[in-house]
Subunit: 285 residues, 2 copies
């Protein structure tokens, strides 16, 4: 069949694959200083945010991504008190971090304030906890902020970025990862969104693992999980520790968590650590 | 963006979601007595088989589906010697079954012989083991064949069907599942393709679990895994045992398997058993 103008489509250049959602109407469109941001009302997936033509999130499936960007990292760290989020302007990741009672301080540094303002307006369920006194929103370049940050002062860094093109390119680079390693406390954890295991194993995941090793991290682990609205429907988050094993986590605490989740639980966490056979060897054990 | 005529698109009615692959050319199209079958050469996903407008398989990602339809079931059974495949005309499932050295006999019953003939011509890598003397291909109605089959004579039944509409509808029904239970030996295993956890939990998975319980099976387990070319990119296989626990499997044998896989391994098997939080309770532990 052919899709008419009532569909939003994201095609992946070079992979010959596209994902489409039927839309009722476009609610918003603007060009910020950094990128083009659109919001649609879809027929069956709730609201949809698009940046530079790529799906950022839908109301229906963003829980998969946001839960898996946060809870594995925070249940891997022994006692996460200070968290730094780079990117994450829609605040869905921030909200999941704030569910953790041992977190005392979260700084989110998003380069494009418009993403957050649009989220506040069109995705209020994601920004509902932004008034929590533990959190601070900054709108500036995360690479610069990390460079200015003191040594060994953060427990968990979460890189919740767009694809590694445009403003997010530097967030996958070796120099930035060395800076992240420097600001982490011993036992600290980095969680990096790391694209599709099927589409980006060679182009992104393998170079990322090499860069993490060169930056001084202990052997990383890539956790995979479904995100239907992202290319291939299969996504990943890579954890790397500063002198700690990211394949172990606080299993009992994860099982006893006092906040609601829709995808994450202690068995899902363990299961996400299982590497598909085609990734074994090239991405570690 | 809008996709031109160089893309094949499968849209899901009622879900407002579509998946597309860029195609180079259509290699084949016919209407069999049962359905319309097409084969395309895609730009980046190898060859594509389509039945009644729905993706059956691509060369690039069918390994995910076929490995997960077979190896969890066969490593759950204590010693699988006889296997019955219902559907599975492309022979990708059959091939994975034949990798297991303890299998002595496989009968595949596919209602539409044309699917197999087209697979032989356009997907020869899937049919390469069809000459194995342990296997027998029958082209008839699987529901009828099971009804005629003697009691307690099969170790594993794999239902590798199209969606539960058209010719496959009866394969999800209670009467058929009771017949499958009847023909299984004690300790026997049923593996049923069971659609998308995100899209079909209420419409298919929950009724299937109820039907399996009513048919006399021990508590079933739904394993989930990625299949990018199927709706939502997230798929499942439901295992149900005749007086046996399908959450346990021969872990050491799975780790020591002597055949190649690309997705399946013993950790992936364990991980696929982890139920997302939104399925806990409604789909068992």
């Amino acid at each position: 069949m052919t899709l008419d103008e009532n569909w939003f489509t994201e095609a992946v250049p070079g992979e010959g694959v596209a994902f489409s959602l039927r839309i009722k109407q476009r609610l918003h469109a603007e060009r910020s200083p950094y990128q083009r941001i659109e919001v649609f009302e879809t027929a069956h997936w709730g609201r949809l945010m698009v940046i530079d033509g790529c799906v950022m999130l839908t109301e229906r499936d963003n829980f998969l991504y946001h839960e898996m960007m946060v809870h594995p990292a925070l249940f891997t760290h022994a006692e996460p008190r200070s968290v730094l989020i780079i990117g994450g302007g829609d605040c869905g990741t921030l909200q999941q971090v704030l569910h953790h009672p041992n977190v005392e301080r979260v700084i989110q540094v998003e380069i494009d304030e418009r993403v957050t303002r649009i989220a506040e307006r069109f995705f209020p369920e994601l920004t509902a906890m932004n008034g929590d006194p533990r959190c601070e929103l900054r709108f500036e370049d995360g690479v610069e902020l990390v460079r200015r940050t003191a040594d060994v002062c953060v427990d968990v860094v979460i890189i919740d970025s767009t694809d590694p093109v445009g403003p997010a390119r530097n967030l996958f680079g070796g120099e930035f990862l060395r800076q992240v390693h420097r600001v982490l406390q011993p036992g600290g954890i980095l969680a990096q969104q790391s694209e599709s295991p099927l589409l980006h194993r060679q182009s992104i995941l393998e170079p990322l693992h090499r860069s993490l090793a060169q930056a001084g991290f202990s052997p990383p682990a890539t956790l995979s999980f479904p995100v239907p609205s992202y290319p291939s429907g299969w996504w990943s988050c890579t954890l790397a520790g500063k002198a700690c094993d990211v394949r172990e986590f606080r299993h009992a605490a994860a099982a006893a968590r006092a906040f609601p989740t829709r995808y994450y639980n202690e068995e899902v966490h363990r299961g996400a650590l299982a590497l598909p056979e085609f990734c074994r060897g090239v991405l570690g054990a």
